[in-house]
């Protein structure tokens, strides 16, 4: 039996690893559009920041794939999938047969529909080659605007600032991390960022990236204001790579549609990772890609292993601060009550949101103490009416709650 995997990112690589563990005799071939072997994508941030040398970016030693009996075809773009013939044709003209196929094409960086995005000096950070290009450009260009105040945008801003560049983060919403933080917590985070020399501009819609043949010169906002900048990094979310699946006639939504066995609508064709849409969701997070890859691998070999979704790991580290965000974080109205404990100078902010005395949500920023416990209590919607004030104390003993 021969299995073909399109994509050598996390889902594709970990699927190959799982397949090999399940079946020592299976033929496994991985087609990667990038010319580099697999690397964990978060390492790109460390690399751009100058904290991780190039040779340490990769997850496995160079000889790993060969030793595992996995055929890696790097730098090979797939032109099309031929589901009726169970074949894949590469852009270079090679035709490969499969018994089972995994679409692990991942996602690309989403680009806003703004004039000038094609100018020299506009970057995304999705691949190792993107990182190389960005680092090279920063050598001669020291003023950088980062479009997007979400997690990736903030990490990129910090990495670039670490190289000594002047950085301004541009966010469309009225606060940083609008999905994870309420306005008060976001203000504390912003202050922490500004302390490191990173500027933040909120409520700003970019209308145009200005420049000439020499490259980017600035940004023009909807308000009419402009900002002089020499480089722009776009961190505006991801877009699943579904072109091959769509062309092959597979059912697609925003991603490639899969059932609970990670199976697409095509015979013997599975999908996993950022390209896959499961029960209406595209996760775009590491643990989901990993779980989907394992489930897909098992089912590709004829096992019957269901995937029931992934509960996001909700503690993150952003700008050196721990951040846990769970449930309703900014709810108002009848029945809702919010309690806050905060120490802005220390970057500390703790908040619980109660609905009729039961925990409906929480933000824990600047500390990890009690973070796992509070997330669990939120998931259980525990009644904490009598201890709500004590919960926010630094020395609260969560073991007291049964």
């Amino acid at each position: 039996m021969n299995v073909l995997i399109i994509g050598n990112g996390l889902a594709g690589t970990l699927a190959a690893k799982s397949l090999r563990e399940l079946d020592p005799d299976l033929g496994i071939e991985v087609l990667g559009e990038e010319r580099h072997p697999y690397y964990p994508r978060p390492n790109l941030i460390e690399y751009v920041a100058g904290r991780l040398p190039l040779e340490k970016i990769f997850a496995f030693p160079e000889e790993w794939a060969a030793r595992q009996g996995i055929t890696l075809r790097l730098g090979e773009k797939v032109a099309r999938i031929l589901p009726a013939e169970k074949k894949v044709e590469t852009a270079a003209g090679a035709v490969l047969s499969y018994d089972a196929l995994l679409i692990a094409t991942g996602a690309r960086a989403a680009l806003p529909p703004v004039p000038g995005v094609d100018k020299k000096g506009v970057f995304v950070l999705r691949t190792l080659d993107d990182a190389h290009d960005l680092i090279a450009y920063l050598e001669g260009h020291r003023r950088v605007a980062v479009l997007g105040g979400g997690l990736l945008g903030l990490e990129i801003a910090r990495a670039i600032r670490g190289r000594g560049a002047d950085v301004e983060v541009i966010e469309f919403f009225d606060r940083l991390l609008p999905r994870q933080l309420d306005p008060a917590a976001a203000a504390i985070l912003r202050a922490q960022f500004e302390k490191t020399g990173i500027s933040v501009r909120l409520r700003a819609t970019t209308k145009e990236i200005l420049g000439d043949s020499g490259g980017v010169r600035g940004l023009r906002f909807e308000s009419g204001e402009t900002l002089g900048t020499e480089a722009v990094v776009i961190a505006a979310g991801i877009k699943p790579e579904i072109g091959l699946a769509a062309d092959a006639g597979l059912q697609i939504g925003r991603g490639v549609l899969v059932d609970d066995r990670m199976k697409t609508s095509g015979p013997g064709i599975f999908a996993a990772g950022d390209a896959a849409e499961h029960r209406g969701r595209i996760y775009g997070i590491i643990p989901a890609a990993f779980e989907q890859a394992r489930v897909a691998a098992a089912n590709m070999l004829g096992q019957d292993k269901p995937y029931g979704g992934t509960v996001p790991f909700n503690t993150l580290k952003v700008a050196g601060l721990y951040l846990t965000s769970a449930g309703e974080i900014d709810a108002e109205g009848p029945g809702f009550e919010s309690l806050v404990h905060s120490d802005p100078a220390a970057g500390l902010y703790k908040k619980i949101v109660l609905q009729d005395g039961r925990l409906a949500g929480a933000i824990w920023m600047g500390t990890k103490k009690g973070a796992a416990e509070i997330s669990r209590l939120v998931a259980l919607k525990r009644d904490v009416g009598t201890i709500k004030q004590a919960l926010l104390e630094d020395d609260f003993d969560f073991t007291e709650i049964p």
Partner: protein, 53 residues
């Protein structure tokens, strides 16, 4: 004692440092971590770590 790297996100477990936030004392070898321990950065399980020496 060897360091181990998470193949999913790149986090490096250093036995000398441990993972105090999650109750793992400095000096705990990777092998001695409980099976329930997960990558503190991305949440994947222990078997996705490789030795980095």
């Amino acid at each position: 004692m060897d360091k181990y790297e998470c193949t999913a996100c790149g986090y490096v477990y250093d036995p000398a440092v441990g993972d105090p936030d999650n109750g793992i004392a400095p000096g705990t070898s990777f092998e001695a971590l409980p099976d329930t321990w997960v990558c503190p950065q991305c949440g994947v399980p222990k078997d996705l770590f490789v030795k980095v020496g």
